[in-house]
Amino acid sequence: MPLLKGRNIVEDAWTLLADNLELPEAGFVIVSLDRFIRDRDLLVACSGPIGVRLSSAQSPELIADALEVFSLIELEFPAFTDGRPYSYAQLLHRLGFAGEIRAVGNVLRDQYLNLKRCGFDALEIKEGETAEEWCIATGAFSAPYQVAYDTEKPIMSLREKRLAAAS
């Protein structure tokens, strides 16, 4: 599936590995949490990069002691109304995860701004969709009201700046 990163559709080097398939030495595979728990030692020893996919019922707390193992964490939206992964992304950043965070599953393009603001780096979109369509949402607001993971200056600090400029 096409992968949207920032404002561009990019090549996806990763594949999702079914639980019954063998681990390729080159890595670039995404495993389930079950697989990680089962084959943890094997995965840690793998020389190539490893990713994990968490369902919306699986908190990143479950892998908090193994974040350095992963170069990619996929957070799955079973329905666009299930907002747990937004908090998971924030939590992952807070726990110091430095790899890529991806959204997969059912997301509306109106939610792209929220995803970016919560620190998602990439998003799987459907065949035929364009980056332009998705990026309408990210341009909808000039400034947000609150701080989030992104570096957008919230309205509060814009006010402070204006205040400082005036004095």
């Binding site: 919306s56 019922a57 908190s59 666009f80 109304t81 299930d82 907002g83 747990r84 937004y86 908090s87 998971y88 924030q90 939590l91 807070r94 509306l108 109106d110 939610q111 701004l113 929220n114 995803l115 603001r117 919560c118 309408i136 949402a137 909808a140 607001f141 000039s142 400034a143 947000p144 009201y145 609150q146 701080v147 989030a148 919230p154 309205i155 509060m156 600090s157 814009l158 006010r159 402070e160 205040l163």
Partner: protein, 556 residues
């Protein structure tokens, strides 16, 4: 009151433009109804029994004459000449057409209003004490903090698709005029011994199918840490609240199932990690907002106005209205005036476009251009000179809004019920109207004193029946409307959830049953006792045997 600066204005206009695009995508079929539903709900647009309904936010219930006039115009243009005030300080309009809603929102934006987060599984309109800034018992103006919470929660990227709706209320008083303890988060502003401002935080309150009184999760969150604490609570809730059953998805169930101590530990751990961050509320922002809520330019007046005292003496009707609807103000010579929307002519909380226009004029003339909406579906003029109360009363009377029944048996909270609502099992409004007729005698109402009667047309409890001194819940019995009675509830500082007294009554019997309960109270009350006090003193059993005498016979 708060006024938009260029940032607020731009934000709300951008939200209108975004929604306009979403509506266009729905109209073109690009969005399915299923996909559009959460988007429209986040902007207060419901699909009801007969048509769309738009709920407009009145943040913490404070609005101006100009805004009221705009609401009147919207009522005329898009509704059928009415507005309906809700229990969360919002106003609803029925019948708008989907294609008109973007323009309607643009008109609201012109007067600094919006419908953002008046519905949906997100942080809803923040409510506050309707007497804020006017009442003597407050330690601060709760609207300052409600505005800070409003801004933080507006289109919050992380908390827009929660497991369920999330309601926050703010009070700065020991008296609870905002049902704070029945909110997902209730905030009581406190001063500590050092004179610093902070918040006593209650979590997990709520009505609905599983009514619960909130519990204190933190006794004093320092003011500057308010947003980080709220964010910690919301994050823990968003990650751990149940998603398998929408009736068990509110934070109250998480509190109940996790246990307060464990949940508090989780919240505190999250809070500790994010407290020292950009979430700290800067002093300049608190002060910037505080300025908007500075007291209006009050005159220095005498405590006793002779003209006012004389009018009360001369005119018993005026005197009764003063006794019923007027509350002492913290500024000498001023008063807080409650305007009842429980009149004979309209459903509870409803108001005509003409009344709105008239009230706008009166607010400008008598109350520093400020109006408040209350959770009890009434309005308040917060700052009226005692010396002008008589004139105001006379003018309110001319537009049918001088009903002196605040807090009395006919001042009912009533949900729209099956007359409008797609969720309801029974009608609520006709029952309320029959009770109003039964107790039309004002002398009798005053004799009964404070009696909070609340009616919900279904188990979702929008009519707050759980916290009525007398609560009525409509239930469907094989296509027939029945009403179950609960007694002993309170949404105030003596918070309690009512108990079901016995089998439900048919629609034709329910008003008699209510009257029987009230008659019994009158027979056994002690001097000065409210219905609720008597009920608490004697318990449910005597009320029960009075209401169901045949059961007693059978047992004997």
């Amino acid at each position: 009151m708060y006024r938009y600066d260029e940032f607020d204005r731009k934000f709300v206009n951008e939200r209108v433009a975004e929604f306009r695009g979403q509506v266009a995508r729905r109209m073109s079929g690009e969005l399915s109804e299923e996909e559009f539903r959460p988007l429209r709900l986040m902007n207060g647009l419901y699909l009801q029994l007969h048509a769309y309904m738009l709920r407009v936010a009145i943040p913490y219930g404070t609005f101006s004459a100009e805004q009221m006039r705009k609401l009147a115009q919207i009522a005329r243009t898009y509704d059928r000449g009415y507005g309906h005030f809700t229990t969360r300080q919002n106003i609803q309009f029925n019948w708008p057409k989907l294609e008109d809603v973007p323009n309607l929102l643009a008109e609201l934006a012109d007067v600094e209003m919006h419908a953002i987060q008046t519905s949906g599984n997100c942080i809803r309109n923040v409510t506050a004490d309707p007497y804020a800034g006017a009442i003597v018992d407050e330690v601060d103006d709760s609207r300052i903090w409600a505005e800070i919470v409003r801004q933080w929660s507006t289109l919050h990227p992380e908390f827009t698709f929660l497991g369920r709706k999330f309601k926050i209320a703010v009070s700065a008083s020991d008296y609870d005029r905002a049902v704070v303890r029945f909110h997902d988060i209730g905030l009581f502003i406190k001063k500590n011994d050092a004179g610093e401002t902070g918040f006593e935080v209650w979590i997990g309150g709520g009505l609905g199918r599983t009514p619960m009184i909130g519990k204190i999760s933190n006794e004093f969150v320092p003011a500057e840490d308010l947003l980080s604490y709220l964010e910690a609570v919301l994050r823990v809730y968003n990650m751990n609240g149940r998603r398998d059953n929408k009736y068990k998805a509110r934070i109250k169930i998480l509190v109940h199932e996790t246990g307060l101590d464990e949940l508090r530990a989780q919240i505190d751990a999250e809070w500790a990690a994010i407290k020292d961050s950009a979430l700290k509320v800067p002093e300049y922002e608190i002060e910037r907002i505080r300025v908007y809520f500075a007291p209006p330019p009050f005159e220095t007046l005498n405590a006793v106005d002779r003209g006012f005292e004389t009018k009360k003496f001369e005119n018993p009707e005026f005197s009764r209205w003063v006794n019923g609807n007027v509350v002492a103000h913290k500024q000498v010579g001023y008063a807080i005036v409650n305007i009842s929307l429980k009149t004979d002519d309209l459903p509870p909380g409803d108001i005509t476009a003409d009344q709105m226009d008239n009230l706008a004029d009166l607010a400008e003339n008598y109350s520093f251009d400020e109006i408040r909406a209350t959770h009890e579906q009434n309005l308040v003029f917060a700052h009226v000179k005692q010396s002008e109360l008589f004139e105001l009363w006379r003018e309110l009377g001319e537009i049918g809004l001088a009903m002196p029944n605040i807090g009395k048996v006919t001042d009912m909270i009533v949900c729209p019920g099956l007359d409008y609502c797609g969720l309801a099992n029974t009608r609520s409004i006709p029952v309320a109207q029959r009770i109003s007729k039964r107790y039309a005698d004002l002398d009798q109402q005053f004799d009964l004193g404070e009696l909070k009667l609340k009616i919900s047309g279904c188990i979702n409890a929008c009519g707050h029946h759980h916290v009525g001194h007398i609560g009525l819940l409509g239930v469907d019995r094989r296509g027939e409307e029945f009403y179950q009675i609960t007694l002993g509830g309170s949404g105030a500082e003596d918070a309690a959830i009512g108990s079901i007294i016995g089998p439900a009554f048919s629609s034709s019997d329910i008003v008699d049953a209510v009257e029987e309960l009230i008659n019994f109270y009158v027979e056994i009350r002690n001097q000065g006792e409210r219905f609720l006090d008597t009920y608490r003193r004697v318990g449910a059993a005597p009320f029960k045997s009075r209401l169901y005498p045949e059961k007693l016979d059978a047992a004997a």
